[in-house]
Assembly symmetry: C2
Homo-oligomer: 263 residues x 2
């Protein structure tokens, strides 16, 4: 189901993110960490050196279950995934979207799929990190920046969940969708995968509906309302924001607050 592939650091030289060659997967993880904290040169090197085994997974694959201890620390380096719960009667609720740079449930504890599963929404590339045992969970003061980064990742995940609760509990379909699009744009932009006004969004409307607690039909109509109001354009899987400030107000969108260095 997945195809292991080893990277050497040399690959970094030949392929940047814009290159046609396969990009060095550490690039995106590096950007993700830098968007939250400042790493020392040693920490940056440790991070790069720890990233070893790359894998590719087709869409719809289960990337990890909460049923197994996530002993290996993995990052998404390309593609989209989500964490989801499936109810016995087939209803599906998406908790959170995962984009390149995000960790794959590194804090998962053995719990069944009725608790949570992580599923690839597109073709996805992951990279496995080694030597993190002493950094995650147990304290390690040799790399305070990396520790801070993991704390920030936890806080960011918490913010995503709380925002998700607020959307579902207290916002209309229109506000929900606007808020989610702004969140995704914000996150993608922070790792350099979105321009200031546009967002590549390779998701079926069914997926957005499952995240926002709506039916596909109603999600479609809401999307069209956003277009009719000239809030967004949507062509070929790319959302363009036409009135981002107004949208932020309508959706009560608060930008991410998890970063620790405000300088």
């Amino acid at each position: 189901m997945n195809h292991p592939q080893r990277y050497s650091r040399a690959a970094r030289v030949i392929g940047g993110p814009e290159s046609n060659l396969r990009a060095w997967p550490g690039e995106i993880v590096q950007r993700r960490f830098s968007s939250m904290v400042s790493l020392s040169p040693e920490e940056g090197r440790f991070l790069q050196d720890s990233l070893a085994l790359g894998r590719s997974h087709p869409a719809r694959t289960e990337l990890c279950t909460a049923g197994q201890i996530a002993s290996r620390l993995c990052f998404l380096t390309s593609g989209w995934a989500c964490s989801i719960r499936i109810l016995p009667d087939g209803r599906r609720q998406i908790f959170e979207f995962l984009i390149p740079g995000d960790p794959l449930g590194y804090s998962l504890f053995p719990r069944g799929p009725e608790f949570l599963s992580v599923i690839a929404l597109t073709r996805v590339e992951t990279v496995e990190a080694n030597g993190w045992r002493d950094l995650v969970g147990a304290g390690n003061f040799a790399f305070p920046g990396l520790r801070a980064a993991f704390d920030a990742l936890d806080r960011e995940r918490e913010q995503h969940l709380l925002d998700q609760v607020t959307r579902l509990g207290r916002q209309t379909a229109y506000e929900r969708l606007a808020h989610l699009l702004l969140e995704l744009h914000d996150r993608m932009a922070r790792v350099g995968l979105a321009s200031r006004t546009s967002l590549p969004l390779p998701l079926k409307q069914e997926i957005l509906a499952e995240a926002l607690g709506l039916s596909v039909v109603h999600l479609n109509r809401t999307l069209q309302m956003l277009r009719r109001d000239r809030m967004i354009e949507l062509k070929a899987g790319v959302v363009t924001f036409l009135a981002p400030e107004q949208m932020r107000t309508i959706a009560d969108f608060q930008p991410n607050q998890a970063r620790t260095d405000w300088g």
Copy 2:
């Protein structure tokens, strides 16, 4: 606004939980920890000795903001509280209820009240714990049981949030309310504050509505449907479960999975 009061361990002798005298507040925290992990005698003693300053807060008081670093570790020893977000237009969304034994946002990071606030729903007693710096966050292997307990607390909070998302996103009002009541009963029973079939619930319907993303009126009607279907009785702030198994099926309620010792 709050009235500090010092406890000595001797207080444990004179007042048990059923006593008219003020109960030793560590009792409930002890039960909370024991419901998740097995503590060694030394760990139990450390836990008890760390609990020092008790405080009392009237209902509607703000217990802690996400705006201040929660440098002090606090536990709720009596009464109910909740974590909540208030939108600019006044809409309110409750994220989670806090019951006796629960920690009060110990992992909070400086973020404003537009992120999250913790508010007392009834008169509330808290107790402050000292000497935990090295146990929470940084690794401490002298007390593996306590470390495991904090991990379990994190996982439980995560479960509550994911359940909350599922309720709001994919369940009907009837299922939502049933699920929440079962969760609260489960949690209260685990710390010895609920019998096998009943649950003291000192909450206004308005509060339940704010947690479940419903209007007060509709929450009231849903409550009556549960009564009409002879699922519950509700008298004088006490819920009695008449068909708990059937209710679990309807609400797809999964009991807590965060505990580490399954023996």
